[in-house]
């Protein structure tokens, strides 16, 4: 269960920022981002305990970016729990307008089990994504442009994270893609694993 709002941040991956540095001086961006670039994953996206992710019939495949979700308690600025999360989206290249249609489809945020965490351990070990049991991607929070404490400080500079809010700390730009029928497992040494099965959406 999540009592607050789920926020995510894009463009917090050092490799991605280096690759896009030139593009970010051009239209429509004009200048590199200053504040963290946030988005919201609304409640229709949330899936827990391995529930299947429906892939809408207009999408051949979806991007699956494994990351860490931090949950905030009553004390400002200090997350009280962490979980693995799988940010699912329709692949898209532009960061100009909010990617609501691409990111906010039903089931597009499988979440693992939230529990106690150690920040140093989170950053020290890779987040590994396996597709149908085969390692497909690996990255770590050492790749973040803003590490967890500086990200939280930069966000709290203009809005408060507390009372059950969740923050996804960043996305790897080289995330793999999966098609309906495939299964994803996300593993990290310091967090409970997350599993998600992707199925073609059937609408009545």
């Amino acid at each position: 269960m999540i009592a607050g709002t789920v926020y995510g941040v894009v463009l917090n991956d050092q490799l991605q920022r280096a690759a896009l540095a030139e593009a970010f001086t051009q239209k429509p961006y004009a200048a590199p981002p200053r504040a963290p670039v946030l988005y919201i994953k609304p409640r229709n996206c949330w899936r827990f305990a391995g529930a299947a992710v429906p892939v809408p019939d207009d999408l051949a495949e979806v991007e699956v970016a494994a990351t860490v979700a931090l949950m905030f308690g009553d004390a400002n600025s200090v997350p009280v729990a962490a979980a693995l999360a799988l940010e699912v989206c329709e692949p898209h290249a532009s960061f100009y307008r909010p990617a609501i249609r691409q990111r906010c489809r039903d089931g597009f945020l499988p979440l693992g089990e939230f529990g106690a965490y150690d920040l140093a351990a989170l950053a020290a070990h890779p987040i590994v994504t396996l597709v149908d049991g085969v390692a497909a991607h690996s990255w770590s929070l050492a790749r973040l442009v803003r590490d967890v404490p500086s990200l939280i400080a930069a966000v709290n500079d203009f809005m408060t994270l507390e009372n059950g809010d969740v923050l996804l700390v960043g996305l790897p730009a080289d995330a793999p893609r999966v098609a309906p029928g495939q299964g994803v497992r996300v593993a990290h040494r310091a967090l409970p694993a997350l599993q998600a099965r992707f199925e073609r959406e059937i609408l009545l």
């Binding site: 463009l11 961006y29 200048a31 988005y39 919201i40 906010c104 489809r105 039903d106 203009f158």
Partner: protein, 250 residues
């Protein structure tokens, strides 16, 4: 019927508003004078809050944009919402903070792939929002970015929800913003690029809308920068008159 969410004797309650808008009737039979009520934003916990950018052609032109071909949708968290008669913080460097009066549609039942012809059957009611923006904080990433549109307490909402049946056609309502009594926005919901029904068709075409979800449908022209101490009134015909105060901070 009109329903307000208020803070009363240690808890949040939904109350019905009397016909003359002077009293609030509580579920337990108690009565609170509207003049003494502590209004909360009339929102369902957990609801998804959608908002529209550039949804009136005259406002797009004023900002130098063409009206979009596809709805420009962004989302809000709940901490940005604020009740009637609340105070919205204005940072010291926010010289370009402006109010945006918006009609808000509230979803009444789950909606997935609903046609625009049927869409209004999924609306349970309407309220008023004042969707402040601070133009100094605009960046061209997921624009309008959250630093502009999701600041704490900068989206006043209310004072209450009016049942859809009592509002009738949502596309012929006059809306107006007054700052310290002077009219700074005067428009009509007939000027929307994408109507309430079209927005529900669009959103439900790719995601499920759930009861309580809200759609802030955008604002007409009239960019007016506010100062600390200003009284801002957003009023929509047949829906409500939302009062807010700008509070200088920092």
């Amino acid at each position: 019927m009109k329903r307000a969410r208020i803070y009363h004797r240690g808890r949040e309650v939904w109350a019905s508003v009397s016909a003359d808008e002077s009293r609030l009737h509580l579920p337990d039979g108690g009565v609170v004078a509207v003049a003494e009520a502590q209004f909360l934003p009339p929102v369902t916990p957990g609801a998804t809050i959608f908002a529209l950018g550039l949804n009136y052609a005259d406002h797009s032109a004023e900002l130098g944009f063409k009206a979009p071909a596809e709805p420009l949708v962004f989302l809000k968290g709940h901490r940005t919402l604020l009740g009637h008669l609340g105070a919205s913080p204005r940072p010291a460097d926010a010289n370009q903070m402006h109010p945006e009066c918006e009609l808000v549609a509230i979803i009444g039942k789950p909606a997935r792939r609903v046609s625009r012809e049927q869409a209004l059957e999924y609306v349970s009611g309407y309220t008023v929002a004042c969707d402040y923006a601070i133009r100094e904080y605009l960046e061209n990433y997921y624009r309008p970015n959250l630093r502009v549109k999701n600041r704490d307490a900068t989206t006043p909402l209310g004072p209450w929800i009016v049942d859809a049946v009592d509002v009738g056609n949502p596309q012929e309502l006059a809306l107006e913003t007054r700052v310290n009594g002077a009219v700074v926005q005067a428009g009509n919901t007939s000027g929307m690029v994408f109507s309430v029904a079209t927005l529900i068709e669009y959103l439900s075409g790719f995601m499920t809308l759930l009861p309580g979800d809200m759609i802030l449908t955008g604002t007409p022209h009239g960019v007016h920068f506010v100062a600390g101490g200003d009284e801002v009134v957003c009023e929509i015909e047949g829906v409500g008159r939302l009062v807010n105060y700008v509070e200088a901070v920092g």
